[in-house]
């Protein structure tokens, strides 16, 4: 046992002092993150949470939450959930395939460039993204025109960029890169040794995938899917730039009530909606974390 190993004892924790030493290490490591999040995230969130339980005069009231379960908010919830699910599904599969191809066959340099590009693309949104797609796939978009030239009239066939499925297509622009970022570590963890071990034991490619690859990757895939779900669910700027409200989405409703020109007396309802969104996303994230924990074991 080397000197350093002796210093880092059994649980990998520095052996300086006793229990207090351990807690000190944890505190030093986690404190910056926790303080940061408390000031810049939890504090604003707390304000939203507290006012969601107040009526317009500041008195305690559960009416806002009662409204959350009525129309048209219920429809908005359903559409938002549907959009999140479809967007996650449509983006997770190509993203996973792309991540697999890059991780398993790409050079180190390629992997790093893709990581950077994915980070940039995952943060595009709002008016610039909306315009890019209008310019490409809008009624007079270049892609629309190009497809017309080869005989495919997408608008004639009923497609429209400003519908539910149009949004799914636009969301893919930042969802697929997000998938690549999130799923690559899982592929990275799929050791080549296992493929070789399976081969030496007589398995062919399909069998490897069926008994080893897919079961190992599936939990990570599912947790990445849930992450994409959360991301699409709370996306705001892009939907606002593209549509005029006929696609009912909860973030848009929140925007209308907080930052609009027509309804001014339902600010706390908007906050209740935001809290409802947080609850839904947390409910989606808990399975994510459980699945991730279990998938982790194979990635070390």
């Amino acid at each position: 046992m080397t000197q350093t190993e002796a210093r880092l004892n059994r649980k990998g924790v520095p052996a300086w002092g006793t229990l207090t030493g351990r807690w000190a290490a944890i505190a030093v490591a986690l404190l910056p993150l926790l303080v940061f999040m408390c000031v810049f995230f939890f504090a604003p969130l707390l304000d939203v949470f507290v006012s969601s339980f107040q009526d317009n005069n500041g008195a305690f009231s559960l009416l806002n939450y009662a409204d959350v379960f009525k129309e048209p908010i219920l429809t908005a919830m359903r559409t938002s959930l549907g959009l999140a699910f479809c967007s996650a599904l449509v983006s997770a599969v190509p993203g996973a395939i792309l991540a697999f191809l890059i991780e398993s066959r790409g050079s180190e340099r390629l992997r790093q460039i893709i990581a950077s590009i994915s980070g940039v693309l995952a943060n595009t949104g709002g008016v610039p993204l909306a315009f890019m797609f209008v310019a490409a796939l809008g009624l007079e978009g270049s892609a629309t025109g190009f497809l017309k030239l080869i005989g495919i009239d997408i608008y004639g066939a009923g497609f429209s960029l400003y519908t539910f499925w149009g949004l799914v297509v636009v969301y893919a622009y930042f969802q697929i890169p997000l998938m690549v970022i999130v799923f690559s570590p899982a592929i990275h963890g799929l050791r080549r040794e296992w493929n070789e071990a399976a081969k030496t034991l007589g398995a062919n490619g399909a069998q490897f995938w069926r008994y080893i690859g897919v079961p190992l990757l599936f939990p990570s895939f599912l947790s990445a899917f849930l992450l994409l779900f959360a991301s699409a669910f709370s996306a705001y700027a892009t939907a606002r730039a593209m549509t005029n409200g006929t696609i009912a989405l909860v973030p848009l409703m929140i925007g209308n009530l907080l930052d609009g020109n027509v309804i001014f007396d339902e600010v706390n309802l908007a906050k209740a909606l935001a809290v409802a969104m947080v609850v839904v996303t947390l409910v989606a994230m808990i399975p994510y974390l459980i699945i991730q924990r279990r998938a982790e074991r194979w990635q070390r």
Partner: protein, 402 residues
């Protein structure tokens, strides 16, 4: 007494007298707290107000788009004439943003004046509410219809517009009324500028559709039914009618305020497209006037009050491009009377100013852009704030599931 002494005494008295006079005027001028001034008289007259405003040198406005009722020209003219730098916070922002800013922003970011919708106003005035606005009665306050002003001068209506159809010149046949929008030739071409639950322009467009289809100001339902039909037939596109989307060809026909049209047409021309505008013959819907108010926490009190006097000035005068260096040397009140008044600038932008009746009687009103004003003899419908409340509830409930 010899002559020298007399002269000395006279000179000394003269000096003493002028010193006293100048001290007292200085004291008088220094003693005016422009944040408490409630009209031009207590401000000490236009010259004093202009002087004080020039000294402040800056004005904070909020959510004023340049091509909205020609606010761009108003801001440029005010800036050039009085040497006051105007900062426009979030030009595309909402009335809710304006109110929120007044309530929560730090002192450096407070706007001096606001221009909000009536619905926003109703949420912040009334018993038990903090007083957000400073009382100030502009020179022409008496001419503002009493329905659209606060008795104490806390807020006052400024201009309103009429909903019309903006369409690309390539659209054939050209639409002339709301009912035309159902034409199958317009498949996928009709759009609104936003969500009626979020914007006054689309909200009033629904009223226009209601009136064109047998509804009334108390019954907006036919308007909702009309858009539902339009959506089902594929004519109504869910795209947002913005200038960028128009250039990209995402839509060709939209319903907009008449005071947005001149700016949109000019912008479209610069981008290579030909946009036209017409007031529909089957429904002339006017919005309620927007409301001007001076922020009680205004950082530049004199400039704020001068801006309001400017906006309510009925003068027919010079635009920014016509101002000469000689004009700029004029005294405050003379300069003020040389420049075009804010009311007329709004007319040039296609809006109907609040003092329209007064100006028409006095013949001080200029002509607006061609084709932008109400066709003679047409009945103008204007939903009152109370009627809008009922309308809002219906729209908020039905629009998301259209």
């Amino acid at each position: 007494m010899n002559l020298k002494r007399v002269v000395a005494i006279a000179a000394a008295s003269a000096v003493a007298l002028s010193a006293t006079v100048s001290i007292s005027t200085a004291a008088q001028a220094a003693s005016v707290n422009y944040c408490k001034v409630t009209n031009l008289k207590t401000a000490g007259g236009m010259d004093a107000l202009v002087k004080a405003a020039k000294k402040e040198g800056a004005l904070n406005v909020i959510t004023l788009p340049r091509d909205w009722a020609n606010y761009g020209e108003a801001m440029d003219l005010f800036s050039k004439a009085f040497g006051i730098k105007i900062t426009d916070d979030n030009p595309d922002g909402s009335s809710a943003y304006e109110i929120q800013t007044i309530k929560t922003a730090p002192a450096a970011k407070q706007p001096d004046v606001v221009d909000i919708g009536v619905s926003a106003l109703n949420g912040v005035i009334g018993a038990g509410q903090d007083k957000l606005f400073a009382n100030y009665k502009v020179a022409n306050f008496a001419a503002i219809p009493s329905k659209w002003k606060d008795a104490n001068g806390a807020w006052y209506g400024d201009y309103n517009g009429i909903i019309g159809i903006a369409y690309d010149a390539s659209v054939s046949p050209a639409p002339t009324k709301i009912a035309d929008l159902t034409n199958p030739a317009y498949k996928g071409l009709v759009a609104l500028t936003g969500d009626p639950t979020a914007g006054q322009e689309p909200f009033m467009s629904v009223y226009a559709a209601a009136l064109a289809n047998g509804g009334s100001l108390d019954n907006i339902q036919p308007g909702l039914d009309f858009f539902k039909k339009l959506k089902a037939s594929g004519n109504f596109s869910a795209t947002k009618a913005t200038p960028e989307n128009y250039i990209a060809g995402a839509y060709k026909i939209s319903l907009t305020w008449n005071f947005n049209a001149p700016g949109n047409i000019a912008g479209a021309k610069a981008a290579g497209k030909n946009l036209k505008f017409v007031i529909p013959s089957d429904a002339v819907v006017a919005g309620t006037p927007y409301i001007q108010a001076i922020n009680a926490k205004a950082p530049h009190c004199a400039a704020a009050r001068l801006w309001e006097e400017f906006l309510y000035s009925e003068n027919k005068g010079k635009y920014t491009a016509d101002l000469t260096a000689k004009d700029l040397k004029l005294s405050g009140s003379k300069l003020f009377n040389t420049i075009m008044g804010g009311q007329n600038i709004w007319v040039s932008g296609g809006a109907a100013p609040i003092l329209q009746a007064d100006m028409t009687a006095k013949k001080t009103i200029i002509s607006g852009p061609d084709g932008f004003n109400v066709p003679k003899g047409a009945k103008v419908y204007q939903p009152s704030p109370d009627q809008q409340v009922t309308g809002k509830t219906l729209v908020a409930a039905q629009w998301p599931t259209l």
